[in-house]
């Protein structure tokens, strides 16, 4: 049973992260399909994930939430159909580097590969973007995407982020230097869109 619901959408809900969820997060952060697009080349032990939970998730100005899909959703396959009525955790989404002075923050997301291509990442990100502007009173959100990560890029484009530049060769993956795309969204743009 996931933690308390914090943000609720039609297809996904965002819950507080609890200790029993750390296994999924640790699996995600080590899975090459997830960590490589997130530019993480280090092995992360469960002890490190527990420390991250203590130091960042529980004790930081940012927000880390567990993405859950509603049980019985036809688009979910495999283990997700547990039939017990509980929401099924599929990944996590985070608001971090919150700068209170400039009212800016960065957003990032990791969905377990088993649940890719269902739009869960976009749905979860939309909830967190709305929260950032509507509740946290932020002025600007930033997202970074490695040039090879088309799926992530689509999330930010779908949510109305503007492409703000391409930092050349600041990442390395698959034996090559890779560019990073920067995306930004301002509060007034979000309101014009949602209003």
């Amino acid at each position: 049973m996931p933690g308390a619901v914090f943000l609720r959408g039609d297809r996904v809900s965002l819950h507080t992260i609890e200790e029993e969820d750390l296994g999924l997060l640790n699996e995600n952060v080590n899975d090459p399909r997830v960590r490589r697009p997130l530019t993480n080349a280090s092995a992360t032990t469960m002890a490190e994930t527990e420390a991250f939970y203590e130091n960042v998730v529980c004790d930081d100005d940012g927000v880390n939430l567990l993405i859950c899909v509603h049980d019985g959703d036809d688009a979910v396959d495999g283990d997700a159909k547990r039939g017990d009525g509980d929401p099924v955790p599929v990944g996590d989404v985070a608001l971090f580097d919150v700068d209170e002075r400039t009212r800016s923050a960065e957003i990032a997301i990791a969905v377990h590969p088993e649940y890719w291509s269902n739009g869960y990442g976009t749905a979860a990100s939309r909830l967190l973007v709305a929260y950032a502007f509507d509740e946290r009173n932020l002025h600007r959100l930033q997202a970074r995407v490695m040039a090879t990560n088309d799926a992530s890029r689509r999330i930010w484009e779908t949510l109305g982020f503007t492409h703000e530049g391409r930092v050349r060769e600041d990442q390395f993956d698959g034996g090559e230097y890779r560019d990073t795309h920067y995306f930004g969204l301002l509060e007034r743009e979000w309101r014009a869109r949602e209003g």
Binding site: T102, H139, R166, R168
Partner: protein, 181 residues
């Protein structure tokens, strides 16, 4: 005590940071025109400055130039931070005390520091960020051949308004080509 020469340019020398530099940095870096130029709107005590200079991260060097009599004097400071050893990516920072603006000291000091980053530290790219309105800094990176790689809209707040942040970068291959010209 004068720091040891670490990098040498035609008009400036980049010297190691010493305890005797603390007063200069404390006095000059707090001034509104300087702290606004790199957007650090927090007053720093002498102790803060001492800790940052002598114990902080990254490679910090004092910029010295010749005064009217030809004697060396402090004019500013540069810093190089390696953001990621794996991707060999570094970031640059510079400030020059206000009386010495417009002399080209910042450009020459940064030119030496970039050359060092590639020739000695084996970096693959270096990044510099400039807040809209800081024409002096923009000119440094443009003069040194950095590419303008993006504009992060409203990412800073200076002088009562949100300001764009410009991102500049140069790759080791570009720097080598430039050095060969």
């Amino acid at each position: 005590m004068t720091g040891a020469v670490f990098l040498r340019g035609d008009r400036v020398t980049l010297r190691t940071v010493e305890r005797d530099d603390v007063d200069f940095v404390h006095a000059e870096k707090n001034k509104p025109e300087v702290h606004r130029s790199f957007v650090w709107p927090y007053p720093e005590t002498r102790d803060d400055v001492e800790e940052y200079l002598l114990e902080g991260d990254g490679t910090k060097l004092l910029v010295w130039a010749a005064d009217a009599n030809g004697d060396p004097e402090r004019v500013g400071q540069v810093g190089l931070g390696v953001e990621d050893e794996r991707t060999r990516h570094g970031g640059l920072g510079v400030w020059i005390a206000e009386p010495y603006w417009g002399e080209g000291y910042g450009t020459e000091a940064c030119e030496r520091l970039v050359a060092y980053a590639f020739a000695e530290r084996n970096l693959h790219r270096v990044t510099a960020r400039v807040v809209e309105g800081n024409e002096g800094s923009k000119r440094i990176w443009e003069t040194l051949g950095f590419e303008h790689e993006g504009v992060h809209r409203d990412a800073e707040f200076v002088n009562g308004a949100y300001r764009d942040v410009h991102v500049y970068g140069v790759l080791e291959s570009e720097w080598r080509e430039r050095d060969e010209d």
